[in-house]
Every structure is written in structure tokens, then in C-alpha cells.
Amino acid sequence: MQHALFALFKSMLGSLRDLLPIIIVIGFFQAVVLQQPIPGFTSIVIGTLFIILGLTFFIYGLEMGLFPIGESMANAFARKGSVVWLLVFSFCLGFGTTVAEPALIAVAQEASEIAAVGGMIKNNPQAMENYADGLRFTVAFSVGLAIVIGVLRILKGWSIQYMIMGGYILVVLMTIIAPKEIIGIAYDSGGVTTSTITVPLVTALGVGLASSIKGRNPMTDGFGLIAFASLTPMIFVMAYGMII
């Protein structure tokens, strides 16, 4: 018991260290640059304690739950030898984790406002909601597709550089023809799609697959799934902006 408590205390200290830079930055700007008192000091201290405790629990859970299940499923699929099911699973994982992502919902709403102001769609709530939902599903679909492509790459051992470069070329070409208003959002949508729970799961899936397939190196083949998942949304959002 005492041992466990000590371990918990130690990892909480680690979390405090992760958080320290933000505390210093905010404290410095508040006190030195803006020269204003910090409002609601006690609630900030309590909030900071919550963050430290939360980060500690999250990292414990990561190593106990998220990593093992991602890897054990990757192993099971590799042993089963059913490529189709593996790809279906990959698509579901990408689509399912993205479609409900709060950050994406927020970005889609802002995008619908831009579209309404820019005259791309009718300026009423119904049209804006349709546009936002369409965008959300487009991004979720593109992330699902990205994980499928990434998993295929691991299975076949394709080299990642050329695929990512191909993706870059597509992004550049689409930028030239896409409406100007959508470009900022399209570029941002690549970054916001990958959430805190998706990233460890997808990473564990990739590494697990690469380590259970003969001839694949977990370091050079296991990583890269997230890279695809942050590239395809840009292409698909610009395409969406052109079609609508």
C-alpha cells in the first residue's frame, strides 16, 4: 500500500513537471508584461491540482488499458490473417473516433458560418447545419480512409515518404483550385482530428501490426498512421468546399 502511494506521488510529481512550463509562462506574462493581478486564485490552484491528478491517471490508464488492447487486437488480426476484417476495423476506428470529436464539431460550425457569410450557402440555420454535418462526415470519412491506407502500407511494406509527398502534391494542387475561404479551415482540419484517445490507440495498432508481421520493423513501419490521418482531411475538406 505504502509502495503504491509512493509510486502515485512520484508520477504526480512527473505530471507537475509536465505542467510547470505553462504555469511559468502564464505567471510571467500576467505579472511582468500585463502587470495585472490573477483573478480567482483559489479556483486556479484547485484546477491545476485537477490537471496534475488527471494527467497522472491518464498515463496509468494508457499503459494498462489503451496500449495493451491496441496491440493485442493488432496481434489477433495479424494471426487471424483476415485482411478484409482488419481494414474494416481500421476504417471504423478512424471514422468512429473522429465523427464525435468535439474539436471537429466546433471547427465545422465555424466553417459553416464562413460559408454562409461568403455566400457559398444560404444564410439560414438549416443550410448551415447541413453544411457543418456534411463537413464533419467528410472529415470522419477521410480519417477512416487514412487509417485504411496506413494499415495497407504496413501490410505491404510501402515506403511512407513517397505516399506523404504524393499527399502534399495533392494538397498543393487542391489549394490552387479550391475557394479561398475554405483553405484556412482545410489546413486546420488536419490537425484537429486526432484526439487524445485516438492517438494512443492508433499508435498501438500500428506498432502492434508492424511487430507481429514478419519483415516489418515497428520503428520504420509502425509509425505513420497519424500522419495519414492529418493529411487526408485537408484534401477532402478542400474537395468538399469545391463541390458545395
Binding site: F67, E101, I164, I183, I226
Partner: protein, 258 residues
């Protein structure tokens, strides 16, 4: 009491967000793989930890960091702060007047990335897979530096109003060139680090900074210029992680020669 109610609400929200993922995982496990999960009890406890941890984390951010961060982004971009109280806002703005904003962008980009849980996850995994060759802290610092530079440059772009795609396309060119020279083993991880950096902690603060800038800099449009900071934050870590690997390789070679 209110705090407890908030915590409960946050756990409910997080559970709803996690539900699709959990149902996909368990659905495939039971209907397709049809094998018992090894250490099922441990995995379930792990999931509960993740849920509780993430709820506490998000609640703490909402309570402590986000209001303060947003307030500061607002205050720093306020023309009254930049040009001094009562002074007229010039019609032609000088980008150098915004030096505090750039410094804040750099500092907040670096510090929020260090605290980003998904980056910690990837760093732990990379350390494990590489057999310790890639240090957890080395990777996190390299990524954080990339985000810091990216967001600073992104703020500069909003102040000057230059088109975003010039920056992004030049960034792509640098990435492509670097790819040919960087050690093979780092390339996929570097590409990944672009996507993982921008999540729970970074996005809300950075978005507040971008919108604050686009709102207050004369001649900028919130809807068009307010976006794009995240794109910068996910491009530059790719370069900094490859540069980190290149430097480590260089240092190792030097050491071998002597």
C-alpha cells in the same frame, strides 16, 4: 459542491465521447476476433483510469488554464496594450509592434505541447519501440520547439496578412528535402508528430490567440485570417523532429571520430 457537479458532468461528457471507440473495440473483439481479451480486468481498470484522468484533466483546464489563457490572448492583442493607452491605432501597421504577441505565441506553443497527453503517449511508445534510442524528453522538446516556431510564424502571418499557402507550401518543400537527409528510422515518427501535437491543451489556447489577433489587427478578417495557426503547429514539428534526429546523428558521428 458545484465542483463535484461539474466533475460529474465532465465525466458524463467524456464517456459519451469515448463510447463510439469503446463499442468499436469491444464489438470487433467479441464478434470478429472472438477471443477473450488477455488481462481483461486490467484493461477495463485502465479504461476507467483514462476516463477519470481525462475528465479531471479537462475540468482542470476549463477551471484554471483556459480562462486565463484566453484572457491573456485578448489582452496581449488589444491595440490599447500594443500602442499604449489613448494613442491612435496607425493605419499602416508595423509587424514588429507585436513583439509581445510573438513571444507569447512561442512560449505558449512550447509549454502547452509539453503538457499534451497524446504527445506523451507517442513519446512513451517511441522510446519503448526504439529500445531507448529516442528519449521521451528529447522527442517532446523537439516537438514543442517545432510548435513554438510554427505558432510564432503563424501569428506573424496573421499580423502581416500574407496568404497562408505560401508558408505551408514552403514548409512542405523543406520537409521533402529534409526527408532525403534524415535518418530513415525517424521519418515516420516525425510525420506522425505533426498530427499528435495539436489536441486537448494546445488547440483551445492557440485558437483564442488566432481569433484575438484577427479581430484586433486592422484590416484582418476573423473568418479568413483567424484560422491556420493549427496548420502551422502541425507542420513545423515534422521539421524539428527530423532536425533533432539529424543533430543526434551528427553528434554521435563526431564522438566516434574522436
Amino acid at each position: 459542491m458545484e465542483l463535484l457537479a461539474n466533475l460529474f458532468q465532465m465525466m458524463l461528457d467524456t464517456s459519451i465521447d469515448v463510447l463510439p471507440i469503446v463499442s468499436i473495440l469491444f464489438g470487433f473483439q467479441f464478434f470478429v476476433i472472438r477471443q477473450p481479451i488477455p488481462n481483461l480486468k486490467r484493461v477495463v481498470v485502465g479504461f476507467v483510469y483514462v476516463l477519470v484522468g481525462l475528465s479531471l484533466f479537462l475540468l482542470g483546464l476549463e477551471q484554471a488554464l483556459f480562462p486565463l489563457g484566453r484572457l491573456m490572448a485578448d489582452q496581449l492583442t488589444n491595440p490599447a496594450f500594443i500602442y499604449g493607452d489613448g494613442n491612435a491605432i496607425p493605419t499602416v501597421i508595423n509587424w514588429a509592434d507585436y513583439y509581445w504577441v510573438y513571444l507569447f505565441a512561442f512560449a505558449i506553443g512550447f509549454s502547452t505541447t509539453i503538457a499534451e497527453p497524446s504527445l506523451i503517449a507517442v513519446a512513451i511508445k517511441a522510446n519503448e519501440v526504439s529500445g531507448g534510442a529516442i528519449g521521451v524528453w528529447g522527442l517532446r522538446r523537439a516537438v514543442a520547439l517545432g510548435v513554438a516556431v510554427g505558432i510564432t510564424l503563424g501569428s506573424y502571418r496573421i499580423v502581416t496578412g500574407l496568404p497562408i499557402h505560401y508558408f505551408i507550401i514552403s514548409g512542405y518543400i523543406v520537409v521533402v528535402v529534409q526527408t532525403f537527409f534524415a535518418p530513415k528510422m525517424i521519418v515516420p515518427l516525425a510525420y506522425d508528430s505533426g498530427g499528435v501535437t495539436t489536441s486537448t491543451v494546445t488547440v483551445p489556447l492557440v485558437a483564442a490567440l488566432g481569433l484575438g489577433l484577427a479581430e484586433t489587427v486592422p484590416g484582418r478578417n476573423v473568418l479568413i485570417d483567424g484560422f491556420g495557426l493549427i496548420a502551422f503547429a502541425s507542420l513545423f514539428p515534422i521539421m524539428s523532429v527530423m532536425a533533432y534526429a539529424q543533430l543526434s546523428e551528427l553528434v554521435a558521428k563526431r564522438a566516434n571520430k574522436i
